[in-house]
Symmetry: C2
Subunit: 199 residues, 2 copies
């Protein structure tokens, strides 16, 4: 099966609907999705942004929140903006890498997004991450300890470097086996169609 790299950032608002939609759409398209958490912070800082463009450009930010609210309503997803925004996503991203290694990663990613943008919970709070893990039947202590290991820290840095090398400048982004980049929840269907036709 062709694969599609799904680059997700837990601070990214539009990664929420993408994460909730990708699995059934990929199954229908016959495409294997590789979930690849990364950090946008270093990429944004490299182009001079110290925070989210939705904070830097208030008109764009106001629009995004309303647009996300409409999108969530249309998808039947809960919606509540976290405060502050963006949330620090480092712990969630590292924990997701552990989970993707151990078989509970995709469920963890979806649960983080629902907590953050469906319930407005602070995902930079290790207790919130621990709650999410317990909800998935995962013992939090070992998982959070491994999330702080040098191995996982290095892997997240490498994934962020690789995203940047592939041209990623925002999230969610999708990259096909032949290197085509698609940016945004809006491009999920196009990315899957591109991946599938290259079989």
């Amino acid at each position: 099966m062709p694969t599609l790299s799904f680059f997700l950032e837990f601070a990214s608002t539009y990664s929420y609907p993408a994460a909730m939609r990708v699995a059934p759409l990929a199954a229908a398209a016959g495409v294997t999705v590789q979930w690849r958490p990364f950090l946008l912070g270093p990429i944004f800082r490299a182009q001079g942004w110290q925070t989210s463009p939705f904070n830097l450009y208030p008109a764009k930010g106001r629009y995004m929140w309303r647009d996300l609210e409409r999108l969530a309503a249309g998808l039947g997803l809960p919606f509540r903006a976290p405060d502050p925004f963006p949330q620090a996503s480092l712990t969630a991203a590292r924990t997701a890498l552990v989970g993707l290694d151990e078989g509970w990663g995709e469920d963890f990613c979806r649960a983080v997004y629902v907590a953050e943008f469906g319930e407005g919970r602070p995902i930079d709070d290790p207790q919130v991450i621990a709650d999410i893990l317990r909800g998935l039947g995962v013992e939090p202590t070992a998982a959070l300890a491994r999330a702080q290991s040098d191995e996982i820290k290095a892997r997240l840095r490498a994934e962020t470097d690789e995203a940047q090398r592939l041209g990623v400048f925002g999230a969610p982004s999708f990259v096909t086996d032949d290197g085509e980049l698609f940016w945004g929840n809006d491009r999920l269907e196009a990315a899957l169609a591109w991946a599938a036709r290259k079989q």
Copy 2:
């Protein structure tokens, strides 16, 4: 019939597919489209940008050109990037306002986008605008003279102010009768659905 304001900027790449798609989709949705040329320049400068964000952020710019090329191919539209980008769009926007008053405006808008992003022609050249007008059976001298009138200049400034007041920060943008803002070619269908359901 409900109406949808379609805010278009002739320098805007994604306004090209939106302009080519909007008429049949609006007819099918039972929505009247009000074509409203405006200028993004003043809005961009107000947030500190002296050129297009696609030039300011090269990774985003590279992606945009490839994405637009794919979109055009999918829609069966010709594609060729103009050089320089962005094109100065003042003459085209003023001429479009004349045309929208005189009944040839929508065809003119589509023809400008095809010339600019389908054929890579410089739309800041009055000869190119004159060619487009002749192709529509419009006598260029009178139209271009009226485009330089105080009335038309003031109207374009007023439309740009109104766009900003409505929250517009990019193009294309769509605003419904009840003030819902939708940004981007990707949101054309959602904007029409929103407008239609408010009938």
